[in-house]
């Protein structure tokens, strides 16, 4: 008999002689074995064809190359393919292709306006930088792989041969190796250390506590007291797949076992790669799936068996990890689309200017004898001028894009040309944001000291754009600390008065008096589980459990004097009132998410009775109650508890007849060893036993909400972020949790709509009804949420996707209960397909897929291990403290104590609303001025395509002078985080970035262009005024920011470019009109204007801003003086000359005043009389007053020494005192003010909520 026990502590036990031929399972006879051994290929072929893998345990002859070795490789490149692959990747972006084209065109001296080096240098530089970065990353991956690969692993190579009694060695080739593992010392000698990469399939791997599991193993022994033996045999298992929850395999022992039975193995017998062995002194297992790369032979084989092959990782984790799609930010995706549009526009410009140039050439230039246009021109002559303009305009693409999306966003990667460094600076910026997250003291997990970590540095800016947050419940919203709170035993409610059944005197009395119902109930609590008690030397018992629920029950039973003392193989020792009771576990009917119940069959060792003990969800237990039993009380109890937000379990039992059990037992064993549909068959067999149950009662377990959850959710909902809760819990429990954490509002304001049904029709009808209600209530200021369960969700997603999508869009809140991991991921997918930015938060392995799927994945490294946080873009500790990371780029995750806003920078969000800032700060600003100047210049240079600026300054300008202000504008804060928390709504208004979809963009772009072109020239100012005015008018719509943005780009910059240009050519007319001088005057003008614009658009000056703005100006002069001192340079002495001229300085002052005056006036006017939301808050914040006095910039509110819990409570309180009037219209104001203390009111005063909700649910 084989008894695979709990995962993680699995003990396989082979005691009875297995039967030789099992009717249902394929067998590995000697014949097949020799066939298997006969050549790798054939064996591999067999494996492939049968979709099965035969793993010969500890077979030293096993070829090394049959299966892949255990080498892990996460590398993207090899030495050979690095260059081509990297270049290919870089050039797969449209932008880069474009810039390469431009750079190639520049090699043609006839058309290039500037020295090709000015493009090629930076181009190569940029590519080199990103290639270096890639190479560095890859090198680090290589190092970490190497470290993992070379890790020492103990492998058993020659076991101690020990004959099991009664069996003889028949043949040398088929030796029975028996390793007795209860003597660790013995094993030490026979094991040898190898590197992790050398572990082969079939090896026996020896793990000690806290070792990382090097590959997928089938456990064959652990340090658990009953030291288990194992026998050489073959493990027959499926070919590798990615399903981490299934492993249907059989262990077959080789002859000479007379009765070679098949020992079923399930996922519970395995431990997967990259897990850690915990709480177990040692364990050993057989490697079944190894490595994650193929060797060359495997590669060949793979090609041969390409139809059946599995490429890449063979371990389950490796395979399920897959290659995560690179996550593009919203803007990234947009850019590529829009680049095309802008490209077209550019072509138009080029054609127009090209025609003008050609016409001018033919009419005028022929007369300009000094130009000596040849009479005969080559065929391409017509193209020359347009191409020149194309090159001049090439500045434009980056400009338009940068301006459109503000620099930071546009330049995610490899955008080159003269904007080269901008890209670098963008990457820097992103890394900086990521670093801020890592650094933030307020996001450190106070309990474990784990700081938050941004794994993916590229998507920081998206944090501000999140529209949907999909969150797991257990462990994320709640603490995942289960506490047994109440119970109902045969109609008697315990714990209702005190709120804690353990303190209920009646229950205690019932226990002492030995009420049989209560004792039975407690017995089920104590032994119907897979918990393992650990007795320390002092005698204290601790429990190790897979499920927190079980642990809670066992603990509670222990508190009530039924103590589960020891699990000795199949014998369970229970201590009750001083007397010891023994139970023998005969079978365990495991919990599955489909069955939703688990049972054990035990034999009472005193009486010899066989008893079935069950516990499970009410809907799966109550229907199986014995015919006569009244279950009403129990279902009422379940309802009542669920409405309190408690998790409920029904406990039941039944005494079995000896015969009945025996009959069933054989069926169960058979079902357990099937390879096909095992789960289903086992469930079916279990069903046959679990009937006519005697319901004992209902236990209710509380899963506490994390502190600060309601506040966080409220803040985020005010910020316009939609919340979906995806949980595996019961519907009622989920609803209650949702209610208590502000997910949904109670009745008069909120409404819950239910989607349910078991069949397609029902679901469809229910869906349509909900949709109708949604549409109707859309206009009302009502909080409508829908609730859907896993079953209905499955149907809805499969058959009514369209309707469901509409529902998803309409609804701001949704609760999905009983959802599976893949459904969670599907929901993320669904929202993403509607172009919403999604953020998924979770803590457990079942959230991994959702986290990977979401635009932004946040993993909480909490009780459920590190799986989620490894897969996530941002990982945070479960006890992280603070609220708004930085200045509020928030996306919140809920941690213990406070809310935690995962990172980012509120400023960043706000900047997106306040686009102009970065636009102006950025090189985009500079280049557009340049572009405009250049195109204006083209008209006075005979449309011949001369560049106003020389190559050096062009390059320097773009590369250097304009990048630093961008970097620093990143550090600019629009609002302090305190203010943002006070007014989370602001974020909603600042998410205008999401509106940048192509149609509106194109629309506004065209319109603004039209304005610019029509009004062009001297009328730029008027346009600025018009646009700004229009901006003001649509302020409340989110288009505003967009409008403002485009308007500013085109008109604002055009205006300033024109100022620079006009002033320069007039002030430097006639005898001063020397090319180099004029060019430097114009350039200095740009620099001065840029500095002023940055200064005026900066909201908060720290030393960094000052350094950047003024330092940049100084750097400009320093650099130009140096260049001017070089006789070989084109601008030799120019700068000295200029700086000696009073007219130069006078011109600069004029440019600044004329360029900035109107901007300042408009800004002031808008700021004061047409304030945007941000402006108002800024003013409020900086005028001192209640929000934040200037003295408050000191970080005392963040002080870490303070007690966390008091901090969390006192902060909202103290703020509220001041803010009550502002928030008085908010229904949640009072709740908010009371801090975290009140959140449990919901548990204690359920009446008002429950009535409304039950009504609601019935209504629907």
């Amino acid at each position: 008999m084989a008894v695979p026990l709990n995962t993680g502590y699995a003990t396989s036990k082979l005691e009875e002689p297995p039967s030789r031929h099992h009717p249902s399972a394929p067998i590995a006879t000697q014949a097949t074995r020799s066939f298997h051994r006969n050549g790798h290929c054939r064996r591999e072929l067999l494996n492939r064809l049968t979709m099965k893998r035969f793993v010969y345990i500890n077979d030293d002859d096993l070829s090394d190359d049959l299966y892949c070795d255990n080498r892990i490789s996460n590398r993207k490149y090899t030495l050979l393919n690095f260059l081509p692959k990297n270049l290919w990747e870089q050039f797969s972006r449209f932008m880069n292709q474009y810039f390469l084209l431009i750079a190639c065109l520049q090699l043609w001296p006839l058309i290039t306006p500037v020295n090709p080096a000015s493009t090629w240098g930076p181009l190569i530089f940029i590519f080199a930088v990103s290639a270096t970065k890639e190479a560095w990353d890859d090198y680090n991956r290589y190092l970490s792989d190497k470290k993992a690969n070379e890790k020492e692993v103990w492998v058993v190579r020659q076991g101690v041969k020990k004959h099991v009694k009664g069996f003889n060695t028949v043949n040398k080739a088929i030796v029975v190796y028996v390793l007795v593992f209860d003597r660790v010392a013995v094993e030490w000698e026979v094991s040898m250390a190898v590197q992790a990469q050398d572990v082969r399939v079939g090896n026996i791997v020896w793990l000690r506590e806290n070792d990382e599991v090097p590959c997928d193993l089938v456990l064959i022994g652990t340090s658990e007291p009953q030291g288990i033996c194992y026998v050489e045999g073959v493990i027959e298992c499926p070919n590798p797949d990615r399903d981490i929850r299934r492993f249907d395999a059989n262990l077959r022992l080789f002859p000479p076992f007379l009765d070679n039975d098949v020992c079923p193995l399930t996922i519970k017998n395995t431990i997967l790669q990259s897990c850690y062995l915990r709480n177990t002194e040692w364990a050993c297992g057989v490697a079944v799936y190894t490595g994650n790369v193929y060797g060359w032979l495997q590669l060949l084989l793979s090609i041969v068996y390409s139809l059946l092959l599995f490429l890449g990782n063979e371990t389950k984790l490796g395979m399920s990890r897959g290659v995560p799609e690179p996550k593009l930010t919203a803007v990234d995706a947009m850019i590529d689309k829009l680049t095309g549009a802008i490209f077209v526009f550019q072509i138009v410009v080029v054609i127009v200017l090209g025609i003008a140039g050609n016409v001018w050439k033919d009419t005028e230039a022929r007369k300009q004898w000094y130009v000596q246009y040849p009479k005969e021109s080559p065929w391409y002559e017509l193209l020359v001028i347009p191409l020149r303009f194309e090159l001049l305009c090439s500045i434009m693409i980056p400009i338009s894009i940068k301006e459109a999306f503000n620099k930071l966003k546009a330049y995610r990667e490899f955008m080159v040309d003269d904007k080269h460094l901008d890209f670098v600076s963008l990457d820097l910026v992103k890394s900086l944001y990521a670093k801020f997250i890592d650094w933030d003291n307020e996001m450190v997990d106070l309990e474990t000291g784990t700081p938050s970590h941004a794994t993916n540095t590229a998507i920081s800016e998206d944090l501000g754009q999140v529209e949907y947050i999909l969150t797991d419940k257990t462990g994320t919203l709640t603490e995942n600390k289960m506490i047994f709170k109440r119970c109902c035993i045969s109609g008697t409610f315990y714990g209702n008065e005190s709120g804690d059944a353990l303190k209920d005197v009646e229950l205690l009395n019932a226990v002492t008096s030995g009420s049989p119902d209560v004792i039975r109930f407690l017995t089920v609590m104590a032994i119907c589980n897979t918990v393992i008690p650990m007795q320390s030397k002092s005698g204290a018992i601790s429990y190790k459990a897979q499920s927190q629920d079980e642990e809670a029950l066992v603990r509670a039973a222990a508190r009530l004097h039924i103590v589960f003392v020891r699990r000795n193989a199949n014998i369970l020792d229970i201590k009750f009132n001083g007397s010891a009771i023994e139970y023998e576990v005969l079978d365990t009917l495991e919990f599955t998410s489909d069955r939703k119940r688990m049972s054990v069959v035990v034999r009472d060792c005193r009486s010899g009775n066989i008893i079935l003990l069950s516990k499970g969800a009410d809907e799966t237990v109550l229907p199986h109650a014995s015919a006569g039993q009244q279950t009403r009380t129990f279902s009422e109890a379940v309802d009542q508890y669920a409405q309190l937000g408690l998790r409920t379990l029904c406990l039941a039992w039944r005494e079995l007849e000896e015969d009945e059990y025996r009959e069933w037992s054989s069926m169960f064993k058979e079902a357990n060893s099937t390879l096909v549909d095992r789960e289903w068959r086992v469930a079916e067999v279990c069903q046959r036993l679990e009937h006519d149950l005697d319901i004992l009662g209902v236990a209710a377990i509380e899963d506490r909400l994390q502190d600060g959850v309601p506040e966080t959710i409220e803040t985020l909902r005010k910020a316009g972020i939609n919340f979906w809760m995806l949980t595996g819990d019961k519907q009622n429990t989920a609803i209650q949790i949702a209610l208590s954490c502000n997910f949904v509002s109670p009745e008069p304001k909120g409404q819950l709509l239910l989607i349910n049904g078991k069949t397609e029709d029902e679901v469809c009808r229910s869906l349509e009804r909900v949709l109708l209600t949604m549409r109707i209530t859309k206009s009302e200021p009502k909080d409508v949420a829908f609730v859907v369960d896993g079953w209905a969700l499955e149907i809805a997603l499969k058959h009514y996707r369209k309707a469901f999508t509409e529902l998803a869009i309409l609804s701001r809140t949704a609760i999905c209960c009983r959802a599976t991991p893949s459904q969670k991921a599907q929901l993320v997918e669904l929202l993403k397909s509607c172009d919403y930015r999604t953020l998924a938060i979770g803590d457990g392995g079942n959230d991994v897929r959702m986290i990977q799927q979401a635009d932004i994945g946040v993993g909480i490294s909490g009780r459920e291990g590190l799986q989620a946080s490894r897969a996530a873009d941002y990982s945070i500790g479960s006890k992280s403290e603070i609220v708004v990371g930085l200045d509020g780029n928030l996306v919140v995750v809920i941690g213990d104590g406070e809310m935690l806003m995962a990172g980012g920078d509120g400023d960043f969000v706000l900047s997106q609303g306040d686009f102009s800032k970065i636009i102006f700060a950025g090189p985009n600003y500079g280049s557009s001025v340049q572009f405009n100047s250049t195109s204006s210049f083209s008209f006075i240079s005979g449309v011949s395509g001369t560049s106003l600026f020389n190559s050096v300054s062009l390059m320097a300008y773009n590369v250097f002078y304009t990048s630093i202000p961008v970097l620093v504008s990143v550090l600019d804060k629009d609002l302090s985080e305190a203010t943002v928390i006070q007014h989370p709504q602001i974020l909603f208004y600042c998410q205008a970035g999401r509106l940048l979809n192509p149609s509106t963009f194109a629309g506004w772009f065209g319109r603004s262009l039209f304005h610019a072109v029509c009004n062009g020239g001297g009328h730029g100012l008027v346009t600025v005024a018009v646009v700004d005015e229009a901006t003001v008018m649509v302020d409340d719509q989110r288009e505003a920011a967009l409008f403002l943005l485009i308007g500013k780009i085109i008109t604002g910059n055009a205006f300033q470019a024109i100022v620079v240009f006009v002033i320069t050519i007039h002030a430097y007319a006639f005898e001063k009109s020397e090319m180099e001088e004029v060019s430097m005057v114009a350039l200095s003008g740009c620099i001065w204007l840029q500095a002023s614009v940055v200064a005026i658009e900066t909201n908060s000056f720290t030393i960094l801003q000052h350094l950047a703005i003024w330092g940049n100006l100084i750097a400009f002069y320093a650099i130009n003086w140096i260049v001017s001192a070089l006789p070989s340079s084109g601008m030799y002495t120019i700068m000295f000359r200029l700086c000696r001229q009073p007219s130069y300085w006078i011109t600069m002052i004029l440019i600044v005043a004329a360029g900035m005056g109107p901007v300042l006036a408009l800004k002031y006017f808008r700021y004061t009389y047409r304030s945007s939301k941000i402006n108002i808050l800024q003013q409020a914040e900086r005028m001192g007053g209640p929000i934040l006095s200037l003295g408050n910039i000191e970080p005392q509110p963040r002080s870490l020494e303070k007690d966390v819990s008091t901090l969390s409570i006192s902060q909202p309180k103290s703020r509220n005192a001041v803010y009550e009037p502002l928030l008085s219209d908010s229904p949640n104001a009072t709740r908010r003010s009371a801090g975290s203390a009140t959140q449990f009111d919901f548990f204690q005063s359920p009446s008002r909520l429950s009535s409304s909700y039950s009504r609601n649910c019935k209504d629907n």
Partner: protein, 358 residues
């Protein structure tokens, strides 16, 4: 007035940047070290002390007032400086062609006729020396792409690089391909070649043609050992000829011409008259009208001008200053009036829409 007066003052002036140095032991890492430490942790926590100015009415109005107060005097000063400059402009390209030949100016300019032309200039006001003599060309695109690139800086500087003429096509070598032209390229080839000589009361006015080019050009851009070679020997004669026995560094007319102009209308220095000219004196100019601007209708002007601290006569800066100053004044006034008529409280949260309609 609903703005809290005290608040405005406090906010307008930026708080001085506070470098909080205290609390940390100075010995560990020294003073600078502790600054860095504090700065560093403040940086990482984004808590650098910051000054957050906002645009209060008082601040903006004062700024505009200040600008107008500063700009108007500067504007006036510039305007006066410009007005003080005495300038004589004589446009001669048409007048210097005999009446009879004016219907085909190009033919005349390319013909063998004597190009001498006598002009008389009246001095309107007393002109103090030095008086700069410029020629001004209109509609001449020295900034044309084809033109502006047609030169070889290396060749101009270094006799060894005389073959470096690749950028100079079509004026690179003569006859095609064999002998490099020094100085090569369209710019040098098309050098301006009208000449002027001045006399006052039949007495020659000395014209100083030394030092009209940039000193840096003479010393570093045009070589002392580089002599004109094969210049204007081709089939097409462009502009001026150069004396092949004088090194380029002393060919100042060439140096001036080679500093290309950014605008199609430009003046280039021809020489300096280093005596004062009295008002109402008349100056006779004997000019040789060789240069062909007729094919593209370019104007030619002779300009005599004094100079001021701002350079030559140019009213633009003065007028621009006055108008910007005036505009700022108007804006300051307008804002003041708006402010007085319709004050608006800054930062009043009741303006927030979510506070208005819940």
């Amino acid at each position: 007035m609903s703005v809290r007066g005290s608040g405005v003052d406090e906010v307008v002036g930026c708080l001085p940047l506070k470098l909080v140095v205290g609390y940390r032991s100075v010995d560990s890492g020294g003073y600078l070290g502790s600054i860095m430490l504090v700065m560093d942790s403040r940086f990482t926590q984004q808590e650098l002390p910051a000054c957050k100015p906002i645009l209060t009415p008082r601040w903006v109005i004062s700024a505009f007032m200040l600008v107008s107060i500063v700009f108007i005097p500067i504007g006036l000063a510039s305007l006066f400086a410009s007005r003080d400059v005495v300038e004589i402009i004589d446009r001669y390209e048409t007048d210097c062609i005999p009446q009879a030949l004016r219907n085909d100016k190009v033919k005349y300019i390319q013909g063998p006729e004597d190009k001498t032309c006598n002009r008389t200039l009246r001095v309107p006001k007393r002109m103090k020396q030095p008086i700069y003599v410029y020629y001004q060309l209109d509609n001449f695109y020295q900034n044309h792409r084809r033109y502006v690139k047609s030169r070889s800086d290396k060749q101009l500087k270094d006799p060894k690089s005389e073959n470096d003429v690749s950028a100079c096509k079509p004026e690179d070598a003569t006859p095609p391909g064999s002998n490099p032209i020094v100085p090569c390229g369209l710019i040098a080839w098309s050098m301006f070649n009208d000449t002027y000589s001045f006399s006052r009361n039949s007495e020659q006015l000395p014209l100083n043609k030394k030092g009209i080019s940039w000193k840096s050009d003479r010393q570093h851009k045009f070589g002392k050992e580089v002599f004109p070679k094969n210049f204007q020997n081709g089939t097409l004669i462009g502009g001026a000829h150069l004396n092949s026995s004088i090194p380029l560094s002393e060919q100042e007319d060439l140096i001036v011409w080679m500093r290309t102009a950014a605008l199609p209308t430009f003046r280039k220095l021809y020489g300096k008259i280093e005596v004062d000219l009295q008002a109402n004196e008349s100056i006779e100019v004997q000019l040789k009208n060789y240069y062909n601007t007729y094919s593209f209708n370019g104007k030619k002007k002779l300009v005599l001008s004094t100079t001021s601290w701002l350079g030559g006569k140019n009213d633009f800066i003065g007028i621009a200053y006055l108008s910007v100053g005036g505009l700022c004044f108007v804006l300051a006034m307008a804002f003041t009036i708006i402010y007085l008529v319709k004050p608006r409280r800054l930062g009043d949260p009741s303006y927030l829409s979510w506070n208005r309609n819940p």
